[in-house]
């Protein structure tokens, strides 16, 4: 915050009265910086997205782990089992939800680690890179699922 501080004039701020002679600067009306359509800054919306994908993952990942390993005969699904599983509509939906939420959560998590290390300009570039990687990963996953579903039996 680059504010001009006047030495010796700290704002005392009585609860029921202002300091004698204190006049809030007229030019300091809040510009609502960074508050966009959602009423929240980008940083706030990214946090919310990370929290929501995380909460989603708790459920979806649990279902995935149980379905892929504990319900599968022998503990690991062979090719035929994988395709059979994906052919059930609910299973395919859950796998797509898993793909989306885990990739978004992972990219946001990496970004959080990097916020502490990078400056503003580098952070913007890295965020863009993570977004691209995320979109590619989701695209690849969707393509893989559709390829398995359309493969000859």
């Amino acid at each position: 915050m680059s504010e001009q501080v006047q030495p010796g004039r700290r704002f005392l701020g009585r609860p029921d009265a202002v300091e004698p002679g204190y006049v809030p600067p007229a030019s300091d009306a809040s510009p609502r910086l960074g508050v966009r359509a959602g009423g929240r800054s980008r940083a706030g919306r990214l946090w919310l997205l990370q929290a929501l994908t995380g909460a989603m993952l708790v459920g979806v990942l649990a279902v995935h782990l149980v379905a892929q390993h504990f319900l599968a005969p022998g503990g690991l699904r062979d090719y035929a089992n994988v395709v059979d599983y994906l052919r059930q509509p609910l299973a395919a939906v859950i796998e797509v939800m898993l793909l989306g939420s885990v990739v978004v959560h992972a990219c946001l998590g990496l970004r959080s680690s990097l916020v502490d290390v990078l400056g503003e300009a580098a952070l913007r570039r890295v965020s863009l890179g993570l977004a691209c990687a995320g979109i590619l990963a989701i695209g690849y996953g969707l393509w893989l699922i559709s390829a398995l579903l359309t493969a000859p039996a």
């Binding site: 915050m1 504010e3 501080v5 700290r10 704002f11 005392l12 701020g13 009585r14 609860p15 029921d16 202002v18 809030p24 300091d28 009306a29 809040s30 510009p31 609502r32 910086l33 960074g34 508050v35 966009r36 359509a37 959602g38 009423g39 929240r40 800054s41 940083a43 706030g44 990214l46 946090w47 919310l48 916020v115 502490d116 290390v117 952070l123």
Partner: protein, 248 residues
């Protein structure tokens, strides 16, 4: 009577007689039952080494000036009893706060944090949150009006020193500034709450907190910056967009 010997490992910066910064061991008299840690530091300065640089003022935890790290943990040495941190034979390690610019030895420079608090226009006087009924059952004295007191925060910067995020990221606003911002949002006292919320609603503001809670654990004054940062987040998440065409 200070008739025991205490070995202290004090952090010393470079000086004409010291080429490198590091821990220097010093021994002084101590009274484990009666001394505070600040008493011992002052005795080092008075009897062993007058070149020791340290900060102190009120000696009763109302100014926040003397904060240091004792055995790795942030404390106010003026109110830390020696018997609570010293077993009577081990060396006692005293070093300056982290994440705050160091002047020399144990003394840090709080200017940057104080300037940020001034830029927030953090008011130092607040209403008392609970009034105590006196024996007559009257809550308010007509002559005094609403009860007032100083804010809890001493600006001792123990929270900033304890925060792991602040140690890696100097851009982070930090628990002291964020807790002060929350106090303005909670009790505006003619402050501009929207302006303050805008200032903290950034990647290096409330959203960089990792909920470690080290700040609340070391605060000597019960500010609980951790909970206040979470409260700021809730206020930000509840904010509504400005309707199109409305003045800012």
């Amino acid at each position: 009577m200070p008739d025991e010997q205490i070995r202290l490992r004090l952090w010393r910066t470079t000086a004409p007689q010291r080429e490198r910064a590091g821990f220097v061991e010093t021994a002084v008299r101590a009274d484990r039952a009666a001394d505070s840690v600040l008493d011992v530091i002052e005795r080092v300065w008075a009897e062993a080494d007058p070149t020791l640089v340290f900060r102190h003022a009120c000696h009763h935890a109302s100014c926040g000036t003397c904060a240091v790290r004792v055995n790795g943990r942030e404390r106010l040495p003026c109110i830390t009893a020696l018997r609570d941190v010293w077993d009577g034979h081990s060396a006692l390690t005293i070093e300056p706060l982290r994440n705050v610019p160091l002047v020399a030895d144990l003394a840090v420079d709080p200017t940057s944090q104080l300037d940020q608090l001034a830029a927030l226009r953090f008011p130092y006087v607040r209403t008392v949150e609970e009034s105590v009924r006196c024996a007559t059952g009257i809550e308010r004295d007509a002559d005094v009006g609403t009860a007032e007191r100083f804010e809890d925060c001493l600006e001792c910067l123990a929270c900033v020193s304890a925060c792991p995020v602040a140690s890696g990221s100097p851009e982070y606003l930090g628990p002291a500034v964020l807790a002060a911002a929350q106090r303005i949002a909670e009790e505006p006292r003619h402050g501009d709450v929207d302006r303050v919320l805008d200032l903290v609603d950034t990647d290096h503001g409330v959203w960089q907190c990792r909920s470690v809670w080290a700040c609340s654990a070391v605060c000597p004054s019960g500010v609980d910056p951790g909970a206040r940062i979470m409260d700021l987040r809730r206020r930000l998440l509840r904010r509504r967009p400005i309707p199109a065409g409305a003045p800012a």
